[in-house]
Structure formats: structure tokens, C-alpha cells
């Protein structure tokens, strides 16, 4: 990779911090507060989900049964694996193993892309079956429940769509950080960047861990 030309040297400590520990703590605190805001951002949708699930229980059960549970399970596994590789990437960054760091970051991006691929496949399948809310919504299996089932699918597309947008941002973030680490000599800021991107990536995984049972497994045993 970039071992040929001289790596860019950057001062490890931003000038307004006193020491590396303070810089790392600030970065970590800032990221955790940002994740709290993201949690509340998704929270609005979780609140709507809770309220409507209680108001239209039957429609949620019937509509949820139309989702592809297997695809959801695979997606959860893919995302958990990407979380593993991300954690290993952060570990490699701390141990200053540049090669392993870039490999793990690449694998994380690949898994992220696989997740988006499966998701896109699911959505296109739903599109053909007339499950996309709006004028095309037909819900052919149980037309009598079409009214409220549309609310479920609206929540489904909003939640998974918002999650997918965050995942795309995550992939872009990991790519830029990988680029930064490839070109720059190792400095505290490099490690901070990788660690904070890792926190963001794990947060996306945490949201999916909740989304999967709430959307896919409402009442599948019937």
C-alpha cells in the first residue's frame, strides 16, 4: 500500500488539549453522547411502534408474518460478524498493527455491503408482493386487514430504511478512516478515529438487534 512514500506526520495531540488521556476521554464522551441522541432519534419510531402495536395487535401479527424471517436472521448474523471484525480492527489500531487494521476494516465494509444487499433483496421482494405502503399497497393475502397492515409496513420501511441510511453512513465512515490510517503515521488521533467509528458501527448493530425481533418475530409460532 502506501509504504513507498513517507507517511504524513501529524501532531498526536490537538493543541487545546493538555494530554492524550484528556483527548481520548473527550472523544469517547462526545461519541457516547452522540449515540444517546441517535438512540432517541430511533426512539421516536420505537415509541410509535409500541403504541400502534398495542392499538392494532392483530394487524401487526398478520403483517409481520409476511416478512422473510430467514433473511432477517442471516442479516443479524452478518451484522454481528461485522461487529466482531470492527472490534478486532479497533484492537489492531491500539496495538499499532497497520496491516491487520486495514484487513479488518475491509472485512467490516464487505459485511456491511452484504447486509445492504440482503436488505435490498428483501425490499424488492416486498415491492413485488405489493407490500410497499402508499398507492401500491394491496396486501393480497388478507385484504380485509389492508388498512392497518399498511401502518405496520410503513413502520417497517421507516425503521429499516433509517437503519440502512445509518449503515451507509457507517460504511462511508469506515472507508474514510481506513484511508486516513493508510496514509498517516500512527498517532493518537488515528486510533481515536478508529475507536469512535467502531462505537458508531456497534451502535448500528445494537439498533438492528432490537429491530429484528420487534419487526420479524411478532407472533410467528401460530
Amino acid at each position: 500500500m502506501s509504504t513507498t512514500h513517507e507517511l504524513l506526520q501529524e501532531p498526536p495531540l490537538a493543541e487545546h488539549f493538555d494530554d492524550l488521556e484528556q483527548q481520548h476521554l473527550s472523544a469517547q464522551l462526545g461519541m457516547w453522547i452522540f449515540l444517546a441522541t441517535e438512540a432517541l432519534f430511533f426512539g421516536g419510531l420505537f415509541c410509535a411502534y409500541t403504541v400502534y402495536r398495542r392499538m392494532h395487535w392483530i394487524e401487526f401479527v398478520v403483517a409481520s408474518r409476511e416478512l422473510n424471517v430467514a433473511a432477517g436472521a442471516i442479516n443479524t448474523a452478518v451484522l454481528l460478524t461485522s461487529s466482531l471484525t470492527m472490534a478486532l480492527a479497533v484492537r489492531a489500531a491500539k496495538l499499532r498493527e497497520r496491516r491487520w487494521l486495514l484487513i479488518y476494516l475491509a472485512i467490516t465494509i464487505v459485511f456491511g455491503a452484504v447486509f445492504l444487499g440482503i436488505k435490498a433483496f428483501e425490499w424488492s421482494e416486498d415491492y413485488e408482493r405489493g407490500l410497499v405502503p402508499g398507492s401500491l399497497f394491496t396486501f393480497p393475502f388478507r385484504p380485509e386487514f389492508a388498512g392497518f397492515a399498511e401502518i405496520f409496513f410503513l413502520l417497517y420501511f421507516l425503521m429499516t430504511g433509517l437503519h440502512a441510511i445509518h449503515l451507509i453512513i457507517g460504511i462511508a465512515l469506515v472507508a474514510t478512516v481506513a484511508g486516513f490510517c493508510a496514509r498517516h503515521q500512527y498517532v493518537a488521533q488515528g486510533e481515536n478515529l478508529v475507536e469512535m467509528t467502531g462505537l458508531y458501527w456497534h451502535f448500528i448493530d445494537v439498533i438492528w438487534v432490537f429491530l429484528y425481533p420487534l419487526l420479524y418475530l411478532i407472533d410467528v409460532h401460530r
Binding site: W57, I58, V62, F148, R222
Partner: protein
């Protein structure tokens, strides 16, 4: 409309209670504002720079005083809460025999219909002294039925009945406003509520064309929409009979839920059975009923149907 410059007419039974709570609140406000004002002014005058007042060892903190001005406001707050909650609860529990008037709010007017079939727009005539309950629904956005003289206000929601009751205690004409912003002409969505002597009210009720009581108009609608085809005696399609159903308990099954739970067949249930028929299906019947949205069956007509179902419910209580 002579009235105190600070209070609208007290024209309903609970107007006095609301005013009492308000006066107590204003009393507390006046007391604390005066207390703070006097304290500040005395301190400013006595301790302004250049005066020879004695200033050493002023306390910086004292737990006793802090607890004092935490405790007293706490007690006052809980007292005010309890008193206003009692008055609020009375506002939300109308007497069972209250006279029922239907209100349909639509963009920029209130459409009212009396059980005797009389219809009014932005006007409401009520007899003195008889408790009145309004059953309200909106055809489009959220409005709010507000009569300042009765100290009564309740938002009118699309898709759900909300209700409001009051007992007029003084004859006269009072303002009726829409209090929730509802679009361009929200400001002109106004009217008057006229409280009349019972004799004048009977005379007013008799006057004007009358297409019969609400229940009878409901019956005509029942035939017009061929509801009898399924719910009537001919029963060419099995559908739950409607005689004596109003107010009773209906066994309802919900698909995917083995237990049947009982719900009371009140206005909400009938409204939802017409607008969203698949929501709660009577035990032992198929979800076959077509949905009637606002174009086929306006909210006002649906209220007439409910009045009709209520009337046939009262006759045959044999079930």
C-alpha cells in the same frame, strides 16, 4: 352582555368552581409576587451602595430556610392539584341522563343535530338547567368546541368521538369559538350558544321543518344503504342482529387471539364497526362487512344510524 371586565359570564354549573380555582391561583400569584417585590424593594433601599446599614456575617446558605421554601410551595402545589383535579374529574363524568346533541366539526363550521331531528350550523339552542352532553367528531382536522361562558372546551378529533358536558344555569347568548387552530378561516369559525327558558325552547323546537327524529332519519338511512339485507330479519348473509345490541356486551374474537373478550357496544364500537369493520368481529361471524368511508356515509349520517340502533336497542331488551 354586561359582565365583569375580568370574567366571562358564569353560565354553567361548574363555571363557579373553575373560577374559584382560578381565583385561588391568582391569589397565590399575587401573594408570592408581592412577597418577592416587597423583599427585593426593602433590600434594594436598605442595602443600596453608600447606606450605613449593618452588613457583616450575612448567611450564605441555610438548610432551614431552603427547606422552608421547598416545603410550603410543595404543600400549596399538592393542594391546588387535588382541588383542580376534582373539578376536572366532574367535568369528565357527565350525568347518565344528560340530553345528547351531536356535533360534527368540519373545516370552518360546527354542524349540530338534536335527537328530535333539528339541525343547526354554528348555533346551539339549549334549555335552561338541563345537563347537556355533546358527542363530537371531526370530518377533517382537529377543531375544539369552546364556550368561554360555560368554562368548557374539548378538542374534536377526526376518527374518534370526544364528549363534553355542561349544565347551563343562566339565560342568554354566549360566544362559541373554535379554539384549536384548524386552517385558513379558523378565526371565523365562531357561533353562539343560546340558553333559553324551557318554554321558549319547546316553542323553538317545534318550529321549522322537521324530518322526524334522528332515530327515524337513521332508519331511513338504514334502508337506503340496504343494511337490512344482512342485519335485518331476511338474513341472506349471516350478520349479527342489531336489536337490543346498543349498550350491551358483545363477545368479540380477534384473529390470532384464542380468547374471546367482551366489549360494550358503545358509540365508539359502532363507529369503528362501520368505518373499520375488520377491527373487532363479533364471535361466530365472518369479517364480511364492507367499509363505509366519509364519502359514502358522512359523520352526521353515521350519528343518525347510531341513534337508530340505540332506539331499536331500547325497544327489545329481550335478548
Amino acid at each position: 352582555m354586561a359582565h365583569l371586565p375580568f370574567f366571562p359570564e358564569q353560565a354553567s354549573s361548574h363555571a363557579k368552581d373553575v373560577d374559584a380555582v382560578f381565583l385561588a391561583g391568582m391569589g397565590i400569584l399575587a401573594f408570592f409576587t408581592a412577597l418577592i417585590l416587597i423583599l427585593i424593594v426593602t433590600f434594594l433601599v436598605r442595602y443600596r451602595r453608600g447606606t450605613t446599614a449593618e452588613r457583616d456575617n450575612a448567611p450564605n446558605t441555610s438548610l432551614r430556610i431552603e427547606l422552608l421554601w421547598i416545603g410550603i410551595p410543595l404543600i400549596i402545589s399538592i393542594g391546588m392539584f387535588a382541588w383542580s383535579a376534582v373539578v376536572y374529574y366532574r367535568l369528565y363524568s357527565p350525568p347518565a341522563d344528560a340530553y345528547l346533541v351531536d356535533v360534527v366539526a368540519k373545516q370552518w363550521m360546527f354542524y349540530l343535530q338534536h335527537p328530535e331531528g333539528k339541525r343547526e350550523i354554528n348555533e346551539l339552542h339549549v334549555p335552561l338547567g338541563r345537563p347537556l352532553r355533546l358527542r363530537m367528531i371531526s370530518q377533517d382536522v382537529i377543531h375544539s368546541f369552546y364556550v368561554p361562558a360555560f368554562r368548557a372546551k374539548q378538542d374534536v378529533l377526526p376518527g374518534r368521538y370526544t364528549s363534553l358536558w355542561f349544565q347551563p344555569t343562566r339565560v342568554g347568548q354566549y360566544h362559541l369559538f373554535c379554539a384549536e387552530y384548524c386552517g385558513t378561516n379558523h378565526a371565523v369559525m365562531r357561533g353562539t350558544v343560546e340558553v333559553m327558558e324551557p318554554a321558549d325552547y319547546e316553542r323553538w323546537l317545534g318550529s321549522g321543518s322537521s324530518e322526524g327524529s334522528l332515530a327515524r332519519q337513521g332508519e331511513q338511512l338504514f334502508q337506503k344503504h340496504h343494511c337490512g339485507g344482512c342485519h335485518g330479519p331476511s338474513q341472506n348473509v349471516p350478520a349479527p342482529p342489531l336489536q337490543g345490541v346498543y349498550g350491551g356486551r358483545v363477545p368479540v374474537t380477534r384473529e390470532g387471539d384464542p380468547s374471546t373478550n367482551f366489549i360494550t357496544a358503545d358509540d365508539r364500537y359502532i363507529h369503528d364497526s362501520v368505518r373499520l369493520p375488520k377491527k373487532e368481529i363479533v364471535a361466530g361471524f365472518e369479517p364480511m362487512m364492507p367499509t363505509y368511508d366519509q364519502t359514502e356515509l358522512s359523520e352526521a349520517d353515521l350519528l343518525k344510524l347510531i341513534a337508530y340502533i340505540k332506539s331499536i336497542g331500547a325497544e327489545e331488551t329481550s335478548k
